[in-house]
Assembly symmetry: C2
Homo-oligomer: 328 residues x 2
């Protein structure tokens, strides 16, 4: 591989910053630039030498970018940007609204395929690496059960839900796997676990000056979908404490497949992540899959794809022969 | 998929029995028969309805078998059988002599390719699932270190080495990861670990009637390559105890990638297996990859391949659309 894979970043929040940092760790890639909807002059990349341009002008860069990594959000950005940008570029994104993946796949595929582009959707760790492990688990051990636990980690969606409660000035929410449930699963017991038995939710809340703590707490713990089905704790803290103690974005979790082979022999497979920064790790996954998207496209494999369609070897900068020799 | 994938088994030891059991767990597969070098009448499959035939006659079954799973050993069987059978069939094998994988790959490829067959080599958990996790680890976290620990598990090679010591009637050897080393790696510390610091070796030995225990013990713990570089314990037991307490073949281990992203953020990925039967689990992996070998061949992807060349989706009986909906 003589020339480097030319990467573009569309959207520059936590994920975009993580992609910038991850591209710098990969010697076979170079960053063409950051594309933002904001005024380019207001966007400050980690490396001041990185070019920032208006996302509106991205069409002019079709000959300069091999893979565009979409760093927008799944709720408002990607449903529009995914198809629009896959019509112009090979793309990788982290679309993570599980229920809408089939329709998103269709929309992106219809944009990418006629234009000869390859679009890897829903890349990251869940969906992404966790999905691969769920698939391997049931393919290798067809008799068994798969368990996914998340945490300990900061849940952006649940934190946002708390912030919408009247009287709340700021908040973070941590999802925590119940240790006893994890141990039961690891033991091969194949327990049937309710939502409440699998995870607890810890909330750290800053109140508005005039808010009533008891009322806010009640509104949180009874909130349907988000908290009502969980054992939830609410701790009230100051704005300074929120900033000082809860600015990191750790996350992680486990995918455990517990199954039996032969005449009831127990076999347990576990995949786990312990991440000090969720967005930086997700970005690193996106960048590895950008390499795969580039290669798939070179092989003529076009249209929308997911992690399920990507052979592991395509993720590595090493040649197939080197991989067989060094890693197999 | 209207018709089932027709599987043949070449070689009927622990692995062959495991494959028979695993095929029975997969509704999209059927077992054509077992092929053995022994007198077919002397081979007793788990299911008495399974046909046993002479391996010498396997050439007559080219139209009846979609994928042949090679269940011979890496030392004496596969170097000959792998290329010979890949010339006639799509194959999957568990060739695990790491240092000889490149030359084995070449030999199998030269047999499979001109005959339009697909041959998946070195499938199992190490090489196999562990290899995939080593690859993912360094592709996603290029700055970091990968650690593989094995055990607690019975090592066939080390057990055989003890049995060759004069005065030894029977023996098993367990490889055990050092808990402190595993914890240091999990913590993200990136320790540099010597061979001795990573694993200990526990030996259970039955002596011949006239053997001297101290002499046998000394011969074991000083054996180069196998034991000299490890802290090794030797326990002498009776033949009855060996049979009663050490007939199972548990194994397992961990692949841990510990790396950093951004400005030194720690990220730890761990894949672990806890297997009550090593051969049954390996067989289950072989069977899942037999499905992939069949599909690769149907897609026109021929020649020798490894787990690095197989997209995860090819392992599952589900359609790509179902996988996106249910597992992504």
């Amino acid at each position: 591989m003589g020339t480097k894979i030319r990467i573009g970043i569309a959207g520059y929040g936590n994920l975009g910053r993580g992609v910038e940092a991850a591209v710098a760790q990969n010697a076979d890639m170079e960053l063409v630039g950051v594309f933002s909807r904001r005024d380019p002059a207001s966007v400050k990349p980690l490396n001041p030498a990185v070019q920032v341009r208006s996302l509106a002008a991205i069409g002019e860069f079709q000959n300069d970018i091999d893979v565009l990594i979409l760093c927008g959000g799944s709720k408002n950005d990607l449903p529009e940007q995914g198809p629009a940008l896959a019509a112009m570029f090979n793309t990788v994104d982290s679309f993570d609204t599980h229920a809408k993946i089939p329709e998103y796949f269709q929309a992106v595929n219809q944009a990418a395929e006629p234009n000869g582009n390859t679009a890897l959707i829903s890349v990251g760790w869940d969906p992404g690496l966790f999905s691969i492990n769920r698939l391997f688990g049931e393919a290798v051990l067809p008799q068994g059960a798969t368990y996914t636990f998340w945490g300990k980690g900061l849940s952006q969606g649940h934190s946002d839900a708390i912030r919408r409660v009247p009287g709340v000035k700021g908040a973070v929410q941590y999802t925590i796997p119940v240790p006893d449930a994890v141990e039961r699963v690891r033991s091969g017991e194949l327990p049937i676990l309710s939502t409440r038995e699998k995870h607890t939710r810890d909330c750290y809340v800053v109140l508005e000056a005039d808010a009533d703590a008891a009322t806010v707490k009640q509104a949180i713990v009874t909130m349907p979908d988000y908290f009502a089905d969980y054992d939830t704790t609410v701790s009230f803290i100051t704005e300074d404490e929120l900033k000082r103690d809860h600015s990191a974005m750790p996350h992680g979790g486990f995918v455990i497949r517990s199954g039996t082979t032969g005449a009831g022999t127990a076999q347990v497979v576990e995949y786990s992540l312990k991440l000090d920064s969720n967005p930086e790790f997700t970005s690193s996954v996106l960048v590895a899959y950008a390499r795969a998207a580039f290669r798939l496209n070179q092989q003529g494999s076009i249209g929308a794809k997911t992690v399920f369609d990507v052979a592991p070897g395509l993720l590595s900068p090493k040649t197939a022969a080197d991989l067989r020799k060094a890693l197999l």
